[in-house]
Amino acid sequence: MTSTSTSTSLRARPARSGATAPVDTRARRAALHPYLFIAPFYVLYVLFMLVPIAVALWLSLCEWVGLGAPHWVGPRNYAHLLTDASFHRALGNTGIYVLVSLLVIVPAALFVAQAINARGVRARDLWRTAYFVPIVVSPIVVALIFGLIFDRQFGLLNSVLRALFGTGSVDWLGDPTLSKVAISLVMVWRWTGYLTIFFLAGLQNVPRELYEAASIDGAGPVRTFFTVTLPALKPVAAFVAVTSFIGAAQIFDEPYLLTGGGPAEATLSVAMFIYRAAFERQQFGYAAAAGVVLFVVVFTLSRLFNRLLGIGRTQ
């Protein structure tokens, strides 16, 4: 078969020599087809991702009030960031939000998922929906509700504290430390249910046989959790941890709407710092420089997490 076909093709080639060019062109075109199909994504990617990033990089080296030609200042914006106490505060606050996200929200989501996934739980869908609702509620509504809850004089929380313990003038949103606690509580309320869904999906994929085997081996609930559940959930947990980290590092809604970054920048996040510089102070170059720093930090740490947690690797 092989020799026949080879000889046929060899014989055919001289006869078709006149049509070589069109065939080659057609073959080249055919080879281009897959690229044409994936081109729209890359065109949009270049237009709406790479070009803005390049412009942001260039803008970070300029001074620009938002109108007229940007004025080149070189790395001056970055030098100012190094000595800007506000930026340092924003970085510190954002670090706290990231820690809350990774050390409180992610474990809480896993705990809730484990509870909902337990055998014999009634109205499982109702619980799941209830936990998921906060993430679909508008952040504006969330801010309004929690603003009323946390208000010092007339807030619900202080009223309850007053009724129960006789003390209730805690300045939840006005005290530099407590305001961070208030923001963290809202973050926990808002994001735990959302992340629970991911863990729940992961838990439902853990083979029942593993739990049965652990039970036969005499493992208790805690041992089963650490030897069966957690290892099985590792890919989901890693994904949740990295996405939570990225989300918390770019947090904006909660501090912006609840405390405006105050008091005295005690809850200011880096994303808010960028917004403030650009859209309240007309310092677009400075904002771009802060944005580049945030991007570099988030990208680097995300890559580090990916590597440490083995996301995307089969083994």
């Binding site: 009323l148 004089q153 006005g174 405006g260 970054g261 105050g262 008091p263 920048e265």
Partner: protein, 454 residues
């Protein structure tokens, strides 16, 4: 097949090829797109039908300007129509700058809320985008002298006027007349010292506050609470040349008074002037007085406690014994006109005829409740006779005219936002007792210099 002559001399009767048609269509499309992207005609309109693009953050302004069209048509050579866009006050500036960069979609008239306008003062933004309305004012003899400097100063830069204010938001003391009488509290204290004594007694005996200051997330409102007293005491955040003048004994004195009030309880902290907690405080009768601009009745009292109609009164604010002014101002919205547009003249004429004439200012007070910005209008007999049902039939102009001669000018800076951020934090620190008033003011000034230099 290929014959050069055919290409060089195409037959006139030959129908165009499909490719030629496509090219033609593409060319026409590109031309149309480029035309659409262009600025359009730039020949200034001097009369006739004109549709003004108006941007504002407040439905009330839209309604007022719409109702004012017949008057504007009568007083000018134009026949006006309005196309209004509404957005949040800070968003209007952001959107305006974005449209200006795009060189299209720029409005003809924009309302700048006082806290958003300082952004227009950064660099040469105002100069590049806005018409100097001072020239329009100067065309009417005597008008420039009649306009209250307190309301032109915040919207001026380098001697040019970029916005006409909608209001003269004088600071007054609103108080619950019924509860003051019930508790035996005298209204209209002459000095803040006397006010403090009355307030301390009111809080001690009845658990009520005679004023509120904002300690919530809105830094503008936090600063506003302090700035009203500071300006009345004779200080200012910035001078005419936009230099910081915060660090002064007037600032310390004003802050000391607020801190004293918070500790004694006759001033109460609220998260903001308009939200739920303030409404609860007003409804429960815990806050029975508020030092605020005249517009607070419309935006703060009437919507939050409509059932208290007739129970409120208004008095001139007490004065600082050490000096200062009879009152101050806070807030306001200035309307500016975009320059270099076909409708620039039409917009300037529209604004002049709806905002600057005597009749227009009287109409604006009746429609919106905003006080005239021309001194002469305060002598209008009809206005002087006006009574206010919400204030129990009180004649408000009795209070306004008594204050009008001593209203300080307020200057703003493009760095206002930076100052608000740092000052709000320091004020709250002083309110909590973490900082002394003097230390708070000094820290705010130092932090401002550190950040504004960037």
């Amino acid at each position: 097949m290929f014959t050069p002559s055919r290409h060089l001399h195409p037959s006139p009767t030959r129908p165009p090829s499909r490719r030629a048609l496509l090219r033609g269509a593409a060319g026409l499309g590109a031309t149309a797109a480029l035309t659409a992207c262009g600025q359009g005609a730039t020949t200034p309109r001097t009369s006739g039908d004109v549709t003004l693009a108006l941007w504002t953050h407040d439905q009330n302004y839209e309604d007022f300007f719409t109702r004012s069209i017949p008057a504007a048509n009568r007083l000018t050579d134009f026949a006006y129509h309005l196309s209004t866009t509404r957005a949040g006050a800070p968003d209007l500036v952001t959107k305006l700058l974005a449209q200006a960069v795009a060189e299209r979609g720029v409005p003809d008239m924009v309302g700048f809320e006082m806290s958003a306008f300082p952004r227009m003062l950064r660099g040469d933004i105002a100069e590049r985008l806005l018409r100097d309305l001072g020239e329009d004012v100067a065309r009417t003899p005597g008008l420039k002298e009649d306009l209250l400097p307190a309301r032109t100063a915040p919207f001026s830069k380098d001697g040019k006027l970029y916005g006409l204010d909608s209001d003269t938001p004088l600071i007054v003391h609103y108080y619950r007349r019924d509860l003051f009488e019930k508790y035996g509290l005298p209204a209209g204290a002459d000095t803040w010292e006397e006010f403090a004594r009355i307030g301390e007694r009111a809080h001690r005996e009845h658990g009520v506050a005679l004023n509120a200051v904002v300690t919530g997330p809105d830094v503008n409102q936090v600063v506003q609470s302090f700035q009203m007293l500071f300006n009345q005491r004779g200080g200012g955040l910035f001078d005419k040349d936009q230099r910081l003048t915060l660090d002064s004994h007037e600032a310390v004195e004003a802050l000391e008074f607020i801190c004293r009030g918070l500790r004694a309880g006759f001033i109460t902290p609220v998260s903001d002037y308009f939200g739920g907690p303030m409404q609860a405080a007003l409804k429960q009768g815990k806050v029975i007085g508020v030092l605020m601009a005249t517009w607070f009745k419309i935006y703060g009292l009437m919507p939050n406690v409509p059932e208290q109609k007739g129970r409120w009164g208004m008095a001139a604010p007490p004065r600082f014994a050490a000096g200062g002014h009879a009152t101050a101002t806070t807030g306001g919205t200035g309307f500016g006109v975009l320059r270099g547009k076909p409708n620039t003249l039409a917009a300037a004429e529209f604004l002049r005829s709806t905002y600057l004439t005597h009749e227009a200012q009287v109409r604006r007070f009746h429609d919106l409740g905003y006080l005239p910005t021309r001194a002469s209008v305060y002598r209008d007999k009809a206005l002087l006779r006006t009574t206010d049902a919400y204030l129990g039939g009180q004649r408000p102009f009795d209070v306004y005219t008594a204050l009008l001669d001593d209203v300080p000018r307020v200057y703003v800076s493009p760095d206002q936002s930076i100052l608000n951020d740092v000052l709000a934090g320091c004020l709250l620190g002083a309110y909590r007792g973490d900082l002394t008033p003097r230390a708070a003011i000094r820290k705010a000034a130092a932090d401002f210099r550190d950040q504004a230099g960037r």
